[in-house]
Amino acid sequence: MADTTMGAPGAARPALFLRNATGLVKAWSTFDAFVYSFWSVNLVTLGLYGMSYVYNIPDGQLLASVLIFGVLCTFLVVTYAGLVSVMPRTGGDYAWQSRVLGGGIGFVLAVTGWWFTLWLWAPIYANILVVQFFSPLAATLGWSNVATWAASPNGLFVSALILLAFVGVVVSLGMETYARVQKICFWIGLAGLAVVCILLAVYSQSDFHQAFNREAASLFGAKGDAYQQTIDAASKGGFSPQAFGTFALVPTLLVLPYLAFYLLWPTWGATLYGEVRGAKDIRKPFWSMFWGLWVTIALVVLVILLMLKTIGWDFYYAANAAYWNNLYAVSGAVAPPVPIWPYPVMWAGFLVDNHLFQAVLITVMALWFFGWAGTLFLSSTRVIFAAAFDRVLPSWAANISAKRRVPYGSLALMIVPAIVVSWLYAYKPSVQAFTYDATAVIALTFLGTVISAIILPWRRKDLYDASPIVRYKVAGIPLITIAGVVSAVFLLGMLYEWAHWSLYGSNSPDSAKYLLVTYIAAVVIYVAARIVRSRQGIDLNRIHHEIPVE
């Protein structure tokens, strides 16, 4: 039964006839895909946390860095949208790299980027949960002992266990249930952000100065001008502020690796497409990721300008410097009068002299965390499943329980090592210092994908020639190649900065050892699997070998 016709909107003739067949679905809403992309570039959970390190480069112009990052990351969005259009159902980086670069490279980059490094993201998320929810909420409610304990190693480790339990439940329940939770979190979280912005917009810097001093005294027992004491504490730790308007190109570029902590992820957007695609479907992955990135950037610009106006740029940087320098025991550093992480949301709440309101605001803004953190192991479980189906990992890794469909094999491979890494993160300060390794490893995985995209038109000419993007060329060069080259330069630049400069904490010997162990482990697993499977008569090299057509 052929019962459908399709054509360009407004066209006088149909482009194709469709018959009734399984899987022919109408396109998903671009808004749904945008929401996912917007969540992944999470302004509050990841953004505020990541930007709290930027004080390390006081002469880097943050606003300019954000905009430069947005432009460069747009090329990454173009690259990924192109790959999605060429190979829509392949499951992302692992499959793209495996098909273009080979199974070994695909496996090593995918498992390090989407499996091993997520062990490190678990305690990082746990720390964000502490500093953006447990600690400020407890402090606001007057439970100063709880606030102090939450920020201690024990509190951080327990938070990691709570987070892992939460993530495990989300993975077990499945994305459909969680997607509903995400939508609720999205709208309420946005409303919370609007309240924060309104508060910062309507109050003056002197209002904030007074409010900060008031709450520092009320909640933390600080005496005198806590606002000024915070700036002084930063100075003692060696921080010297620069005017917001100061611009120097190199320091501004050095800020980019910090921003990658949250702005590098819009490509987590849509990867699933209908089988018979119309014109609009080709553009959907691009626009959903593009708007996810640029709406966030617009909000970041707004928040930065509001903080500049009401909180004061010197104070914002100084508060971060004072907190982190004291935590990392930097020479000369002293404890700031407000000893918990400088959370701009909490500061905005200070502008209303009501602790209940402040607690509600912190709770509402925590929905930015709970609406996203549940997906922490989503990609990991998929990569583990794919590797198990490819016989690289044992088949039990892809097992799911019969009754509740819990992927216990992959969950065990995520949660058990994540507990170990969380313990190290909580009790070994040197491990906390290489927080940015978690971003760098994924950036390297992205680089593998980007290289795949650059050479795709020649390496997999058959796929490229048959794809909708074959007509997008600039001066005869495929657009995906051009976008890929720009993205590769962008990623390589950041990888160089992470590896070269000590200010990111990722070029220490311990960091190098951690990275080395993860990559060696991935290589060892792949080589061991090849040997074992070869003895079983299974050639892993054959998985991605294309069968001749003729």
Partner: protein
């Protein structure tokens, strides 16, 4: 020790069918099984007008010369669509009349299947490779007749087939889907259909259940959630199990050596249900990639090895 190559849900992709026919030599497999849904979902008109041809594959309508038509037709077939040359008047006629459109589509589709049967015979006759095809729920009933007429390709639907010491039963019928396709029935009816074959299997420890629809809640049956309007929910990320409870019950009851499935393209995987290894190799027909499973059978061990491949 027969080596089996199983692929499914080719949906009209001629590139995938050609690869399927070459898979025997490529993987040293003596048995090729096509698990169903071999016919395409879309027909692309190539309209002859004013001395040239126009067609639309993707975003924009393109104009080509007569000499380019064969290449365009090959490109369309590669994606699993059917190209059909026609006049502008015929295009409008088909657009306006659902009955004529359905008749035209069916004819093009059956011609396509017939062509594939001919290609199989031409390429594999005399090689010792056996080819089984079992149409799926998306394949119209008339497809079976075309396959039956083939003197080389063997129809699997509804019968027991001996593969060395192993016995295969096959059906392309599925439980009900939102698309109301050609071979759908209630779980009870599907259970009876499978049971009618399964009870005749002499030794279930050497049985292959080639059942198009995957078992319910097996991990091989997770499809994107859709609403009543067939619109993907939650950006296509929310998955639901849509397999058949009847298929699951049959596997759990009889515990065949292996069960082969398709139907849900996104749900590639291999899982154990009791003693049974259940496989869905998935499908990426629209990319021209043949996803398949190689299974090395052994009369003593049962399954010596298996591997999912993207050929």
């Amino acid at each position: 020790m027969p080596k089996v190559f199983f692929a499914t849900d080719l949906h009209g992709s001629e590139m995938c069918w050609r690869k399927f026919l070459n898979a025997g030599r490529f993987y040293d497999a003596e048995i090729l099984i096509c698990g169903g849904d071999m016919t395409g979902k879309a027909l692309i008109p190539i309209v002859q007008e004013n001395g040239h041809y126009t067609f639309q594959l993707g975003a924009e309508r393109q104009q080509i010369e007569a000499a380019q038509v064969p290449d365009v037709e090959a490109q369309i077939r590669r994606k699993g669509y059917y190209p059909l040359q026609m006049s502008l008047e015929r295009l409008h006629e088909l657009d306006a009349d659902p009955v004529k459109r359905a008749e035209c589509f069916q004819q093009v589709m059956l011609d396509g299947v017939d062509r594939w049967m001919g290609m199989a015979a031409e390429k594999l006759r005399g090689t010792g490779i056996r080819v089984f095809v079992c149409p799926g729920n998306d394949d119209e009933m008339e497809v079976d007749d075309v396959i039956r007429r083939s003197d080389f390709v063997e129809l699997g639907e509804g019968r027991l087939v001996e593969i060395g010491e192993f016995t295969m039963i096959s059906t392309g019928w599925s439980n009900h889907t939102p698309w109301n396709t050609h071979r759908e029935e209630t779980e009870e009816q599907l259970g009876e259909r499978i049971e009618a074959m399964a009870k005749q299997v002499p030794d279930v420890s050497k049985a292959i259940f080639n059942l198009h629809c995957p078992p319910f809640k097996s991990g091989l049956d997770e499809a994107p959630a859709i609403d009543a309007d067939l619109k993907l929910l939650h950006g296509g990320r929310a998955l639901r199990p849509v397999g058949s409870t009847a298929v699951r019950e049959a596997i759990e009851r009889h515990q065949p050596l292996i069960s082969l499935h398709g139907h849900i393209h996104e749900s590639k995987g291999a899982v154990k249900i009791g003693k049974t290894l259940s496989i869905n190799p998935g499908s990426s027909y629209e990319e021209g990639m043949l996803m398949g499973a190689i299974v090395q059978l052994d009369p003593k061990k049962g399954i010596k090895s298996y591997q999912l491949v993207n050929g």
